[in-house]
Protein backbone atom coordinates (compact mmCIF):
# COMPACT_ATOMS: atom_id res chain seq x y z
CA UNK A 1 0.00 0.00 0.00
CA UNK A 2 1.36 3.43 -1.02
CA UNK A 3 0.39 6.52 0.96
CA UNK A 4 0.28 9.88 -0.77
CA UNK A 5 -0.29 13.31 0.74
CA UNK A 6 -1.33 16.30 -1.37
CA UNK A 7 0.30 18.31 -2.89
CA UNK A 8 2.02 15.45 -4.77
CA UNK A 9 5.33 15.66 -6.65
CA UNK A 10 5.76 14.43 -10.21
CA UNK A 11 8.40 11.99 -8.97
CA UNK A 12 5.93 10.24 -6.67
CA UNK A 13 3.35 10.02 -9.45
CA UNK A 14 5.87 8.59 -11.91
CA UNK A 15 6.72 5.86 -9.38
CA UNK A 16 3.15 4.51 -9.49
CA UNK A 17 2.23 1.53 -11.67
CA UNK A 18 -1.06 -0.01 -12.79
CA UNK A 19 -2.45 -2.23 -10.02
CA UNK A 20 -0.90 -0.27 -7.12
CA UNK A 21 -3.21 0.28 -4.15
CA UNK A 22 -2.93 3.86 -2.85
CA UNK A 23 -4.36 5.77 0.11
CA UNK A 24 -4.62 9.53 -0.19
CA UNK A 25 -4.53 12.11 2.59
CA UNK A 26 -4.98 15.85 2.10
CA UNK A 27 -7.25 17.81 -0.23
CA UNK A 28 -9.52 16.61 -3.02
CA UNK A 29 -11.56 18.89 -5.27
CA UNK A 30 -14.70 17.38 -6.74
CA UNK A 31 -15.50 18.23 -10.34
CA UNK A 32 -17.64 16.47 -12.88
CA UNK A 33 -19.52 17.17 -16.12
CA UNK A 34 -20.36 20.87 -15.71
CA UNK A 35 -16.96 21.80 -14.26
CA UNK A 36 -15.03 19.98 -16.99
CA UNK A 37 -17.05 21.53 -19.80
CA UNK A 38 -16.71 24.99 -18.20
CA UNK A 39 -12.92 24.74 -17.76
CA UNK A 40 -12.44 23.30 -21.22
CA UNK A 41 -14.34 26.25 -22.71
CA UNK A 42 -11.86 28.63 -21.09
CA UNK A 43 -13.54 29.17 -17.71
CA UNK A 44 -11.30 30.03 -14.79
CA UNK A 45 -11.13 28.42 -11.37
CA UNK A 46 -12.65 30.40 -8.52
CA UNK A 47 -10.29 32.44 -6.34
CA UNK A 48 -8.60 30.24 -3.76
CA UNK A 49 -8.80 27.04 -5.84
CA UNK A 50 -5.65 25.58 -7.39
CA UNK A 51 -5.40 22.13 -8.99
CA UNK A 52 -1.57 22.42 -9.21
CA UNK A 53 -0.03 19.15 -7.96
CA UNK A 54 -3.49 18.25 -6.74
CA UNK A 55 -6.25 15.74 -7.39
CA UNK A 56 -9.68 16.12 -8.94
CA UNK A 57 -12.38 13.71 -7.87
CA UNK A 58 -15.18 12.84 -10.30
CA UNK A 59 -17.91 12.85 -7.70
CA UNK A 60 -21.27 14.41 -7.01
CA UNK A 61 -21.63 13.92 -3.27
CA UNK A 62 -24.71 14.03 -1.05
CA UNK A 63 -24.02 17.01 1.24
CA UNK A 64 -26.32 18.29 3.97
CA UNK A 65 -26.03 21.11 6.50
CA UNK A 66 -25.89 19.86 10.09
CA UNK A 67 -27.59 21.55 13.08
CA UNK A 68 -24.75 24.06 13.40
CA UNK A 69 -25.00 25.00 9.72
CA UNK A 70 -21.80 23.13 8.78
CA UNK A 71 -21.59 21.12 5.57
CA UNK A 72 -21.47 17.38 6.05
CA UNK A 73 -20.81 14.85 3.28
CA UNK A 74 -23.09 11.86 3.81
CA UNK A 75 -22.36 9.89 0.62
CA UNK A 76 -19.48 10.34 -1.79
CA UNK A 77 -18.59 7.61 -4.28
CA UNK A 78 -17.11 8.24 -7.74
CA UNK A 79 -19.08 8.92 -10.90
CA UNK A 80 -18.30 7.43 -14.34
CA UNK A 81 -15.19 9.16 -15.69
CA UNK A 82 -15.38 8.45 -19.40
CA UNK A 83 -17.79 11.35 -19.89
CA UNK A 84 -14.90 13.72 -19.12
CA UNK A 85 -12.65 12.16 -21.77
CA UNK A 86 -13.14 15.05 -24.26
CA UNK A 87 -11.90 17.53 -21.61
CA UNK A 88 -9.59 15.74 -19.16
CA UNK A 89 -6.29 15.87 -21.03
CA UNK A 90 -6.60 19.62 -21.53
CA UNK A 91 -7.41 20.17 -17.84
CA UNK A 92 -4.47 18.02 -16.70
CA UNK A 93 -2.22 20.15 -18.90
CA UNK A 94 -3.66 23.58 -18.12
CA UNK A 95 -4.19 23.20 -14.39
CA UNK A 96 -1.32 20.89 -13.42
CA UNK A 97 -3.30 17.99 -11.99
CA UNK A 98 -1.33 15.01 -10.64
CA UNK A 99 -4.26 12.71 -10.13
CA UNK A 100 -7.77 12.06 -11.38
CA UNK A 101 -10.06 9.91 -9.22
CA UNK A 102 -13.14 8.34 -10.73
CA UNK A 103 -14.54 5.05 -11.88
CA UNK A 104 -14.70 3.02 -15.06
CA UNK A 105 -11.46 4.35 -16.53
CA UNK A 106 -10.74 6.83 -19.31
CA UNK A 107 -9.47 6.77 -22.88
CA UNK A 108 -6.38 7.34 -24.97
CA UNK A 109 -6.26 11.13 -24.71
CA UNK A 110 -6.21 11.06 -20.91
CA UNK A 111 -3.65 8.25 -20.97
CA UNK A 112 -1.44 10.36 -23.26
CA UNK A 113 -1.83 13.41 -20.99
CA UNK A 114 -0.87 11.24 -17.98
CA UNK A 115 2.33 10.31 -19.74
CA UNK A 116 3.18 13.77 -21.03
CA UNK A 117 2.41 15.79 -17.90
CA UNK A 118 2.92 13.30 -15.05
CA UNK A 119 -0.56 12.36 -13.87
CA UNK A 120 -2.34 9.12 -12.93
CA UNK A 121 -5.90 7.85 -13.02
CA UNK A 122 -6.98 6.46 -9.69
CA UNK A 123 -9.99 4.15 -9.50
CA UNK A 124 -12.26 4.36 -6.47
CA UNK A 125 -14.89 1.70 -5.84
CA UNK A 126 -18.09 2.78 -7.58
CA UNK A 127 -21.11 2.72 -5.33
CA UNK A 128 -19.06 2.61 -2.13
CA UNK A 129 -20.44 5.96 -1.05
CA UNK A 130 -20.37 5.29 2.70
CA UNK A 131 -16.89 3.80 2.98
CA UNK A 132 -15.55 6.75 0.99
CA UNK A 133 -17.61 9.37 2.89
CA UNK A 134 -16.02 8.03 6.11
CA UNK A 135 -12.62 9.10 4.73
CA UNK A 136 -13.84 12.69 4.26
CA UNK A 137 -12.99 14.53 7.46
CA UNK A 138 -14.35 17.95 6.58
CA UNK A 139 -15.71 20.20 3.87
CA UNK A 140 -13.32 23.15 3.56
CA UNK A 141 -15.32 25.07 1.00
CA UNK A 142 -17.72 24.88 -1.89
CA UNK A 143 -17.57 26.77 -5.20
CA UNK A 144 -20.10 27.14 -8.04
CA UNK A 145 -22.89 25.81 -5.83
CA UNK A 146 -25.49 28.20 -7.28
CA UNK A 147 -24.15 28.03 -10.80
CA UNK A 148 -23.96 24.24 -11.21
CA UNK A 149 -26.08 22.81 -8.36
CA UNK A 150 -24.88 20.61 -5.51
CA UNK A 151 -23.76 17.41 -7.32
CA UNK A 152 -21.90 19.44 -9.98
CA UNK A 153 -20.29 22.02 -7.69
CA UNK A 154 -16.59 22.05 -6.74
CA UNK A 155 -16.42 20.74 -3.16
CA UNK A 156 -13.08 21.15 -1.42
CA UNK A 157 -12.74 18.10 0.80
CA UNK A 158 -10.23 17.16 3.47
CA UNK A 159 -9.62 13.41 3.28
CA UNK A 160 -7.70 10.79 5.23
CA UNK A 161 -6.56 7.44 3.84
CA UNK A 162 -8.92 7.60 0.87
CA UNK A 163 -8.56 4.18 -0.86
CA UNK A 164 -7.98 3.96 -4.64
CA UNK A 165 -6.24 1.73 -7.17
CA UNK A 166 -3.99 2.99 -9.99
CA UNK A 167 -5.64 1.77 -13.19
CA UNK A 168 -3.94 4.18 -15.65
CA UNK A 169 -0.36 5.17 -14.91
CA UNK A 170 2.01 7.76 -16.36
CA UNK A 171 3.89 5.19 -18.47
CA UNK A 172 1.11 4.30 -20.91
CA UNK A 173 -0.27 1.43 -18.83
CA UNK A 174 -4.06 1.02 -18.64
CA UNK A 175 -5.77 -1.82 -16.81
CA UNK A 176 -8.99 -0.90 -18.64
CA UNK A 177 -7.42 -1.40 -22.06
CA UNK A 178 -5.86 -4.67 -20.92
CA UNK A 179 -9.12 -6.07 -19.48
CA UNK A 180 -11.07 -4.95 -22.55
CA UNK A 181 -8.66 -6.67 -24.93
CA UNK A 182 -8.59 -9.89 -22.89
CA UNK A 183 -12.36 -10.02 -22.46
CA UNK A 184 -12.91 -9.33 -26.16
CA UNK A 185 -10.62 -12.26 -27.05
CA UNK A 186 -12.37 -14.54 -24.52
CA UNK A 187 -15.79 -13.57 -25.91
CA UNK A 188 -14.70 -14.27 -29.49
CA UNK A 189 -13.94 -17.90 -28.44
CA UNK A 190 -17.47 -18.28 -27.09
CA UNK A 191 -19.60 -16.93 -29.93
Amino acid sequence: MTHLTTPITEEKIRALKVGDAVEITGTLFTGRDAVHKYLHEGGTLPEGVSFKDGIIYHCGPVVIKDEEGKWKVTAAGPTTSIREEPYQGHIIKEFGLRGVIGKGGMGDRTLAANKEFGCVYLHAIGGAAQVLAECIKSVRNVYFLEKFGSPEAIWELEVENFPVVVTMDSHGGSLHQEVFNNSQAELAKRL
Binding site: G19, A21, A34, C59, G60, P61, V62, I64, T74, A75, A76, G77, T79, T80, I82, K103, G104, G105, H123, I125, G126, G127, A128, A129, Q130, V131, A133, E134, F148, G149, S150, P151, E152, P163, V165, T167, L175, H176, E178, V179, F180, N182, S183, Q184, E186, L187, R190, L191
Partner: protein
Amino acid sequence: MSDLQDSLVELIRRTSAEIPDDVQKAILTSLENEKKGTIAESAFKIIEANIKLAKQKSQPICQDTGSIIFYVECPVGFDQITFEETARTAVTLATKKGYLRQNSVDSLTGKNDGTNVGPGAPTVHFHQHRSSEIKVSLMLKGGGCENVGAQYSLPSEKLKANRDLDGCRKVILDAVLQAQGKGCGPGILGVCIGGDRATGYEYSKQQFLRTIEDRNPNQELDALEQDILKTANELGIGPMGFGGKTTLLGVKICAANRLPASFFVSISYMCWAYRRQGVILSNESKIEKWLY
Protein backbone atom coordinates in the same frame (compact mmCIF):
# COMPACT_ATOMS: atom_id res chain seq x y z
CA MET B 1 -48.36 14.43 7.37
CA SER B 2 -50.41 11.50 6.06
CA ASP B 3 -49.77 7.83 6.79
CA LEU B 4 -49.17 7.27 3.07
CA GLN B 5 -46.49 9.96 3.05
CA ASP B 6 -44.82 8.43 6.13
CA SER B 7 -44.86 4.99 4.54
CA LEU B 8 -43.39 6.24 1.26
CA VAL B 9 -40.61 8.19 3.00
CA GLU B 10 -39.73 5.03 4.93
CA LEU B 11 -39.82 2.98 1.72
CA ILE B 12 -37.42 5.48 0.10
CA ARG B 13 -35.10 5.48 3.14
CA ARG B 14 -34.85 1.73 3.29
CA THR B 15 -34.46 1.33 -0.48
CA SER B 16 -31.63 3.88 -0.52
CA ALA B 17 -29.77 2.54 2.53
CA GLU B 18 -30.31 -1.23 2.47
CA ILE B 19 -29.47 -3.77 -0.21
CA PRO B 20 -32.12 -6.47 -0.53
CA ASP B 21 -31.16 -9.82 1.05
CA ASP B 22 -31.04 -11.74 -2.24
CA VAL B 23 -28.50 -9.28 -3.70
CA GLN B 24 -26.36 -9.23 -0.58
CA LYS B 25 -26.24 -13.01 -0.59
CA ALA B 26 -25.10 -13.05 -4.23
CA ILE B 27 -22.38 -10.48 -3.48
CA LEU B 28 -21.04 -12.46 -0.51
CA THR B 29 -20.94 -15.69 -2.52
CA SER B 30 -18.99 -13.93 -5.27
CA LEU B 31 -16.53 -12.49 -2.76
CA GLU B 32 -15.68 -16.02 -1.63
CA ASN B 33 -15.05 -17.06 -5.23
CA GLU B 34 -12.61 -14.27 -6.10
CA LYS B 35 -8.91 -15.04 -5.93
CA LYS B 36 -7.32 -13.95 -2.66
CA GLY B 37 -4.99 -10.96 -2.72
CA THR B 38 -6.31 -9.53 -6.00
CA ILE B 39 -7.74 -6.04 -6.48
CA ALA B 40 -11.01 -7.78 -7.40
CA GLU B 41 -11.10 -9.26 -3.90
CA SER B 42 -10.33 -5.92 -2.27
CA ALA B 43 -13.06 -4.25 -4.37
CA PHE B 44 -15.54 -6.81 -3.01
CA LYS B 45 -14.36 -6.19 0.55
CA ILE B 46 -15.00 -2.46 0.20
CA ILE B 47 -18.43 -3.24 -1.30
CA GLU B 48 -19.22 -5.52 1.64
CA ALA B 49 -18.09 -2.91 4.19
CA ASN B 50 -20.13 -0.27 2.38
CA ILE B 51 -23.32 -2.34 2.52
CA LYS B 52 -22.93 -2.75 6.29
CA LEU B 53 -22.06 0.89 6.90
CA ALA B 54 -24.97 2.27 4.84
CA LYS B 55 -27.46 0.11 6.72
CA GLN B 56 -25.98 0.96 10.11
CA LYS B 57 -25.94 4.72 9.40
CA SER B 58 -29.18 4.73 7.45
CA GLN B 59 -27.47 6.62 4.64
CA PRO B 60 -27.47 6.11 0.86
CA ILE B 61 -25.49 3.05 -0.28
CA CYS B 62 -24.46 5.08 -3.32
CA GLN B 63 -24.48 8.87 -3.65
CA ASP B 64 -26.21 8.54 -7.00
CA THR B 65 -29.65 7.78 -5.65
CA GLY B 66 -30.79 7.41 -9.21
CA SER B 67 -33.99 7.61 -11.17
CA ILE B 68 -36.88 7.13 -8.77
CA ILE B 69 -39.27 4.57 -10.20
CA PHE B 70 -42.43 3.46 -8.38
CA TYR B 71 -44.43 0.43 -9.47
CA VAL B 72 -47.89 0.39 -7.90
CA GLU B 73 -50.28 -2.51 -8.07
CA CYS B 74 -53.65 -1.36 -6.83
CA PRO B 75 -57.32 -2.35 -6.66
CA VAL B 76 -60.05 -0.86 -8.84
CA GLY B 77 -61.07 2.52 -7.45
CA PHE B 78 -57.64 3.31 -5.92
CA ASP B 79 -56.96 7.06 -5.96
CA GLN B 80 -53.94 7.28 -8.25
CA ILE B 81 -53.88 11.08 -8.29
CA THR B 82 -53.51 11.32 -4.50
CA PHE B 83 -50.88 8.60 -4.56
CA GLU B 84 -48.79 10.40 -7.17
CA GLU B 85 -49.05 13.76 -5.40
CA THR B 86 -48.05 12.13 -2.10
CA ALA B 87 -45.16 10.31 -3.76
CA ARG B 88 -43.83 13.63 -5.06
CA THR B 89 -44.04 15.20 -1.60
CA ALA B 90 -42.38 12.11 -0.04
CA VAL B 91 -39.53 12.34 -2.56
CA THR B 92 -38.89 16.00 -1.73
CA LEU B 93 -38.99 15.24 1.98
CA ALA B 94 -36.63 12.26 1.63
CA THR B 95 -34.25 14.52 -0.32
CA LYS B 96 -34.23 17.06 2.54
CA LYS B 97 -33.41 14.26 4.95
CA GLY B 98 -30.48 13.18 2.76
CA TYR B 99 -31.92 9.76 1.80
CA LEU B 100 -31.83 11.00 -1.79
CA ARG B 101 -29.32 13.26 -3.51
CA GLN B 102 -30.54 16.45 -5.21
CA ASN B 103 -30.58 14.51 -8.40
CA SER B 104 -33.02 15.99 -10.88
CA VAL B 105 -31.89 18.52 -13.48
CA ASP B 106 -33.97 20.63 -15.87
CA SER B 107 -32.75 19.34 -19.24
CA LEU B 108 -33.17 22.71 -20.96
CA THR B 109 -31.81 25.18 -18.40
CA GLY B 110 -29.41 22.83 -16.57
CA LYS B 111 -30.87 24.02 -13.25
CA ASN B 112 -31.21 21.66 -10.32
CA ASP B 113 -33.82 23.05 -7.94
CA GLY B 114 -32.95 20.46 -5.30
CA THR B 115 -36.44 18.96 -4.95
CA ASN B 116 -36.03 15.84 -7.13
CA VAL B 117 -39.45 16.58 -8.58
CA GLY B 118 -40.13 17.77 -12.12
CA PRO B 119 -41.41 16.54 -15.48
CA GLY B 120 -40.99 12.74 -15.47
CA ALA B 121 -39.45 12.72 -11.99
CA PRO B 122 -40.31 10.63 -10.10
CA THR B 123 -41.87 8.03 -12.40
CA VAL B 124 -44.94 6.17 -11.20
CA HIS B 125 -46.30 3.11 -13.02
CA PHE B 126 -49.79 2.03 -11.97
CA HIS B 127 -51.22 -1.37 -12.62
CA GLN B 128 -54.74 -2.25 -11.56
CA HIS B 129 -55.54 -5.73 -10.32
CA ARG B 130 -58.57 -7.59 -9.00
CA SER B 131 -57.14 -8.14 -5.53
CA SER B 132 -57.70 -5.57 -2.77
CA GLU B 133 -53.98 -5.46 -2.03
CA ILE B 134 -51.91 -2.28 -2.47
CA LYS B 135 -48.37 -3.20 -3.44
CA VAL B 136 -45.74 -0.48 -3.94
CA SER B 137 -42.31 -1.37 -5.29
CA LEU B 138 -39.51 1.15 -5.64
CA MET B 139 -36.37 1.08 -7.69
CA LEU B 140 -33.58 3.66 -7.46
CA LYS B 141 -31.47 3.25 -10.56
CA GLY B 142 -28.20 5.17 -10.77
CA GLY B 143 -26.96 6.99 -13.86
CA GLY B 144 -23.71 5.07 -14.26
CA CYS B 145 -25.48 1.79 -14.88
CA GLU B 146 -28.28 3.44 -16.85
CA ASN B 147 -25.71 4.85 -19.26
CA VAL B 148 -24.36 1.40 -20.17
CA GLY B 149 -27.81 0.08 -21.11
CA ALA B 150 -28.11 -0.71 -24.83
CA GLN B 151 -30.76 -1.40 -27.43
CA TYR B 152 -29.93 -3.49 -30.48
CA SER B 153 -31.95 -3.80 -33.66
CA LEU B 154 -31.62 -7.21 -35.29
CA PRO B 155 -30.23 -8.28 -37.64
CA SER B 156 -26.85 -6.75 -36.77
CA GLU B 157 -24.37 -7.34 -39.54
CA LYS B 158 -21.49 -6.07 -37.43
CA LEU B 159 -22.16 -8.62 -34.67
CA LYS B 160 -23.37 -11.33 -37.06
CA ALA B 161 -26.56 -11.45 -35.05
CA ASN B 162 -29.69 -12.76 -36.79
CA ARG B 163 -33.30 -12.63 -35.71
CA ASP B 164 -33.14 -15.69 -33.46
CA LEU B 165 -32.09 -16.61 -29.92
CA ASP B 166 -28.46 -16.99 -30.93
CA GLY B 167 -28.57 -13.45 -32.32
CA CYS B 168 -30.05 -12.27 -29.01
CA ARG B 169 -27.23 -14.03 -27.16
CA LYS B 170 -24.61 -12.28 -29.30
CA VAL B 171 -25.93 -8.78 -28.72
CA ILE B 172 -26.50 -9.33 -24.98
CA LEU B 173 -22.90 -10.49 -24.58
CA ASP B 174 -21.73 -7.53 -26.66
CA ALA B 175 -23.51 -5.23 -24.20
CA VAL B 176 -21.60 -6.91 -21.34
CA LEU B 177 -18.31 -6.46 -23.19
CA GLN B 178 -18.99 -2.80 -23.97
CA ALA B 179 -20.11 -2.07 -20.39
CA GLN B 180 -16.87 -3.43 -18.87
CA GLY B 181 -16.78 -2.00 -15.32
CA LYS B 182 -18.41 1.31 -16.19
CA GLY B 183 -21.81 0.38 -14.78
CA CYS B 184 -20.35 -0.55 -11.36
CA GLY B 185 -20.10 -4.27 -11.82
CA PRO B 186 -20.70 -6.96 -10.89
CA GLY B 187 -24.01 -6.11 -12.49
CA ILE B 188 -27.37 -7.67 -13.13
CA LEU B 189 -28.90 -7.63 -16.62
CA GLY B 190 -32.56 -7.06 -17.33
CA VAL B 191 -33.38 -7.89 -20.94
CA CYS B 192 -36.45 -7.66 -23.12
CA ILE B 193 -36.55 -9.47 -26.43
CA GLY B 194 -39.08 -7.71 -28.67
CA GLY B 195 -41.46 -4.85 -27.95
CA ASP B 196 -40.92 -1.39 -29.39
CA ARG B 197 -38.13 1.01 -28.46
CA ALA B 198 -40.00 2.33 -25.42
CA THR B 199 -41.66 -0.85 -24.12
CA GLY B 200 -38.49 -2.87 -24.73
CA TYR B 201 -36.52 -0.78 -22.25
CA GLU B 202 -39.49 -0.54 -19.89
CA TYR B 203 -39.95 -4.33 -19.69
CA SER B 204 -36.18 -4.84 -19.40
CA LYS B 205 -36.19 -2.66 -16.27
CA GLN B 206 -39.17 -4.47 -14.78
CA GLN B 207 -37.05 -7.64 -14.80
CA PHE B 208 -35.17 -6.11 -11.86
CA LEU B 209 -38.24 -6.68 -9.70
CA ARG B 210 -37.40 -10.40 -9.88
CA THR B 211 -35.11 -11.76 -7.18
CA ILE B 212 -31.60 -12.89 -8.10
CA GLU B 213 -32.31 -16.53 -7.31
CA ASP B 214 -35.62 -16.89 -9.11
CA ARG B 215 -35.71 -18.93 -12.32
CA ASN B 216 -37.51 -18.09 -15.52
CA PRO B 217 -40.64 -20.23 -16.01
CA ASN B 218 -39.99 -20.22 -19.75
CA GLN B 219 -37.43 -22.97 -20.42
CA GLU B 220 -35.84 -21.33 -23.43
CA LEU B 221 -35.39 -18.03 -21.64
CA ASP B 222 -34.16 -19.80 -18.51
CA ALA B 223 -31.49 -21.58 -20.55
CA LEU B 224 -30.47 -18.29 -22.16
CA GLU B 225 -30.25 -16.57 -18.75
CA GLN B 226 -28.00 -19.31 -17.36
CA ASP B 227 -25.85 -19.35 -20.48
CA ILE B 228 -25.31 -15.57 -20.52
CA LEU B 229 -24.46 -15.58 -16.80
CA LYS B 230 -21.91 -18.36 -17.18
CA THR B 231 -20.34 -16.97 -20.36
CA ALA B 232 -20.13 -13.39 -19.02
CA ASN B 233 -18.36 -14.66 -15.91
CA GLU B 234 -15.77 -16.40 -18.09
CA LEU B 235 -14.75 -13.12 -19.76
CA GLY B 236 -12.59 -11.93 -16.86
CA ILE B 237 -14.01 -8.40 -16.64
CA GLY B 238 -14.57 -8.72 -12.91
CA PRO B 239 -15.86 -6.31 -10.26
CA MET B 240 -15.38 -2.66 -11.34
CA GLY B 241 -13.72 -4.00 -14.51
CA PHE B 242 -10.59 -4.76 -12.48
CA GLY B 243 -10.38 -8.27 -13.91
CA GLY B 244 -11.72 -11.24 -11.94
CA LYS B 245 -14.27 -14.01 -11.86
CA THR B 246 -17.49 -12.11 -11.20
CA THR B 247 -18.75 -9.91 -14.02
CA LEU B 248 -22.47 -10.50 -13.51
CA LEU B 249 -24.55 -11.56 -10.51
CA GLY B 250 -27.65 -12.38 -12.48
CA VAL B 251 -29.45 -12.25 -15.83
CA LYS B 252 -33.22 -11.79 -16.20
CA ILE B 253 -34.87 -12.00 -19.61
CA CYS B 254 -38.43 -11.55 -20.82
CA ALA B 255 -40.03 -11.48 -24.23
CA ALA B 256 -42.72 -9.23 -25.67
CA ASN B 257 -44.42 -9.39 -29.04
CA ARG B 258 -42.90 -7.30 -31.80
CA LEU B 259 -43.92 -5.97 -35.19
CA PRO B 260 -42.89 -8.09 -38.17
CA ALA B 261 -40.59 -5.21 -39.21
CA SER B 262 -38.87 -4.75 -35.83
CA PHE B 263 -36.69 -6.96 -33.66
CA PHE B 264 -35.29 -5.07 -30.71
CA VAL B 265 -33.25 -6.50 -27.88
CA SER B 266 -33.23 -4.01 -25.00
CA ILE B 267 -30.71 -4.43 -22.22
CA SER B 268 -30.74 -2.61 -18.90
CA TYR B 269 -27.80 -2.94 -16.55
CA MET B 270 -28.18 -2.70 -12.78
CA CYS B 271 -25.12 -1.97 -10.67
CA TRP B 272 -24.15 -4.06 -7.63
CA ALA B 273 -25.71 -1.26 -5.53
CA TYR B 274 -29.06 -2.72 -6.52
CA ARG B 275 -31.65 -0.61 -4.78
CA ARG B 276 -35.04 -2.23 -4.95
CA GLN B 277 -37.60 -2.66 -2.21
CA GLY B 278 -41.34 -2.97 -1.92
CA VAL B 279 -44.17 -2.93 0.56
CA ILE B 280 -47.72 -4.10 0.98
CA LEU B 281 -49.77 -1.23 2.38
CA SER B 282 -52.79 -1.63 4.63
CA ASN B 283 -56.05 0.15 3.83
CA GLU B 284 -54.82 2.91 6.14
CA SER B 285 -51.62 3.13 4.04
CA LYS B 286 -49.39 1.78 6.80
CA ILE B 287 -46.58 -0.63 5.89
CA GLU B 288 -47.85 -4.17 6.50
CA LYS B 289 -45.09 -6.18 4.94
CA TRP B 290 -41.72 -5.72 3.20
CA LEU B 291 -41.39 -7.57 -0.10
CA TYR B 292 -37.64 -8.22 -0.38
